[in-house]
């Protein structure tokens, strides 16, 4: 039952549509400096960009370029040294810890590289957990959770524990969890790291389709450039800086066909 986006051409359409949509996430001159034994490191160095609703963006760059640090800042898990992050126009820096926790469960959807799921909850419960956290789990929510999992090809796996599922299946459950509560921003850290190539393409493709359909702002960190064929924009980082933005379809496809780096 997974949605098949047969050709990247549909993403072009999505991109065109999203131009007019409101900005969901805005990053302004963000700097994150870590003080280390060998002196200060700017893990993120004056980065600015914004993502609109319905837009799927890839964050790429070599290891150590600051991708995870950037994602942590977007998720309100890390406070930037300077600069601003706005989600739905709200400045994260002005929030206290309670408000940040609340923001994470209401406005952000998350998938992690691994250890995504709560091991003692089955697939359905893991997805429903996001609604429970928001105190919003009702009958309709249960049905939507099951439907979303079915949509991701897990209709037969609703009651499986994470340990009874493959890496790809777990990653898809995590995607459902990241979307079920209608967050503003969906953040995915290396969602394909533990998957084989074929699975990886499938997962990212479905992910992209869901982000486009539901008007979420999606940001995916990946080191696998081939995955970029499903996104609307690619942000390339190096040494904490945003060094290049691939925006046209042609540029993105050329990058994606260059393969893994």
């Amino acid at each position: 039952m997974s949605v098949i986006v047969t050709h990247p051409i549909q993403n072009i359409i999505a991109e065109k549509q999203s131009e007019a949509k409101p900005i969901a996430l805005e990053v302004r001159n963000v700097v994150k400096t870590f003080l280390t034994d060998t002196g200060p490191i700017n893990a993120v160095d004056d980065v600015s960009f914004s993502v609109r609703q319905g837009e799927f963006v890839a964050l790429v760059g070599p290891s150590g370029s600051g991708k995870t640090t950037m994602l942590s800042i977007l998720a309100a898990l890390l406070t930037p040294t300077s600069g601003q992050v706005l989600i739905d126009g709200q400045d994260l820096a002005r929030m206290n810890e309670r408000e940040r926790v609340r923001l994470r469960r209401e406005k952000i959807g998350f998938t992690f590289q691994s250890n995504n799921l709560i091991p003692f909850l089955n697939a359905l419960e893991n997805v429903e957990l996001m609604l429970r956290l928001n105190n919003r789990l009702d009958k309709a929510g249960r049905i939507r959770s099951a439907e979303l999992l079915a949509r991701l090809g897990l209709g037969e796996r609703l009651y499986n524990l994470p340990s009874q599922m493959s890496g790809g299946q777990q990653q898809r459950v995590a995607i459902a969890r990241a979307l079920i509560h209608s967050p503003t921003v969906v953040l995915a850290d290396e969602p394909t790291a533990s998957l084989d190539t074929e699975r990886a393409f499938q997962v990212v493709q479905t992910f992209a389709a869901l982000i486009h359909e539901n008007d979420r702002a999606g940001i995916m960190v990946t080191h696998d450039l081939r995955m970029c064929q499903y996104v609307d924009r690619v942000l390339q980082m190096r040494d904490g800086k945003l060094v290049r933005i691939y925006e046209t379809r042609a540029e993105i496809l050329a990058l994606a066909q260059g393969g893994e780096h």
Partner: protein, 387 residues
């Protein structure tokens, strides 16, 4: 908080084996602690029971006897003097000794060791009868026996028992007719038998030196007050009115039974150490578990679970596992206790057992405290950085 309950319960439910194992360890610790408490209660009861039931508020000892019953020797004149003190309703002498009842041939043991207590009929110190009657006269060769004697022998009211008593270097035998029974009157780890003071003086075991001595020896005098709220005042009054005495309340008398405090202390220390082991076992288990759960807790926090929810889930989980373990342990203890003969000094109905149960329920939260604090302090960033 329903979310915390949900998380705590689901995790236990999906890892039944692991949590059951901890509960079983707690159950065994519970069993051990309850048995130690019951033993303490049993030994304590067997030691103090008669004294604790005395029908009075104060006990008079010989001066400088340090409230040790066997070290105190009082005269008949002291008893009369105590009775004359204003505010004293009644006073009764108690003489203590140890002797043995001969058992019929073919019994498992040759003799049953008992505490031989000399008391005046109807006076403080005289036990409450459960059946039969009191002594006919001050010199009647009659005896009132504790239910425990009946439990351990075939003796009945109307029977004649033979008491073996060492007089100097010879064993002498005295026949006594059982005329009444009482219950729960153990003293100094032995069931008691009661005789009149003059019979007591006649048949009590004596050393060679004592044989010629005709002065009836009273160990202590139990004093029943007209106003039982005036204990401290009456103590002072007795001390100032009667010469060569010291006075204690019942609890002090019990605490000074030779070995009583030391024994209770030993048993309590054992119980305390077992509880400590429980705390360490639970603490160790949950600490190891929380270390393994760092990524999972990181994810929970990253997706928006608050620290109170994570902390509450941990506390609820530990409490559930502990309560379940204590329940199993309590049940096991109960089942075991059904199998014990009445002669085993285990008392499960005392305040000691209740206290032990409360302490057991607390060892979980106490032991798990470190792991709960650890869980609350895990940074949500771990979800990203560990992956």
């Amino acid at each position: 908080m329903s979310l915390a309950f949900y998380l705590a319960f689901k995790e236990i439910w999906r890892n039944k084996g692991r949590f059951l194992l901890v509960s079983l360890v707690i159950a065994l610790i519970t069993l051990l602690v309850l048995f130690i408490a019951a033993l303490g209660e049993g030994l304590g009861t067997n030691n103090r029971e008669y004294i604790s039931k005395l029908d009075g508020q104060l006990v008079v000892f010989l001066e400088k006897s340090d409230y040790i019953i066997s070290a105190s020797r009082l005269r008949q004149s002291t008893l009369r003097a105590v009775r004359r003190v204003e505010g004293v309703e009644d006073a009764g002498p108690i003489s203590t000794s140890s002797t043995a009842i001969l058992l019929p041939p073919g019994s498992k043991n040759e003799v049953l060791k008992v505490s031989l207590l000399g008391v005046e009929a109807g006076r403080p110190g005289f036990p409450q009868l459960t059946a039969g009657r009191t002594f006919l006269s001050a010199t009647a060769r009659e005896v009132i026996v504790d239910q425990r004697v009946l439990d351990r022998t075939d003796i009945q009211i109307g029977d004649t028992i033979t008491v073996r008593s060492t007089q100097g270097v010879e064993d002498e035998f005295y026949d006594l007719k059982v005329v009444g029974t009482t219950s729960g009157q153990a003293y100094f780890f032995q069931p008691s038998i009661f005789v009149t003071p003059s019979v007591w003086e006649k048949i009590r075991p004596k050393s060679d030196a004592e044989l010629g001595n005709t002065v009836a020896a009273i160990n202590i005098i139990v004093v029943r007050l007209k106003d039982s709220t005036q204990i401290e005042q009456m103590k002072e009054k007795l001390l100032s009115s009667v010469k060569n005495i010291e006075v204690a309340d019942i609890q002090t008398t019990i605490n000074n039974i030779p070995g009583y405090s030391a024994q209770q202390g030993t048993v309590q220390t054992q119980g305390g150490f077992t509880l400590l082991i429980g705390i360490l076992v639970i603490g160790g288990f949950f600490q190891i578990q929380v270390l393994q759960k760092v990524p999972q807790i990181g994810v929970l926090k990253a997706i928006g679970a608050s620290n109170p929810v994570v902390g509450a889930a941990a506390v609820i989980q530990i409490s559930l596992v502990t309560a379940f373990g204590v329940a199993i342990g309590g049940l096991l203890t109960y089942l075991f206790s059904l199998g014990f003969p009445p002669t085993v000094p285990l008392f499960f109905n005392g305040a000691a057992s209740a206290l032990a149960l409360v302490a057991l329920l607390l060892i979980g939260p106490l032991g798990g405290l470190v792991s709960v604090i650890y869980a609350v302090r895990i940074e949500p960033l771990k979800a990203l950085r560990l992956s």
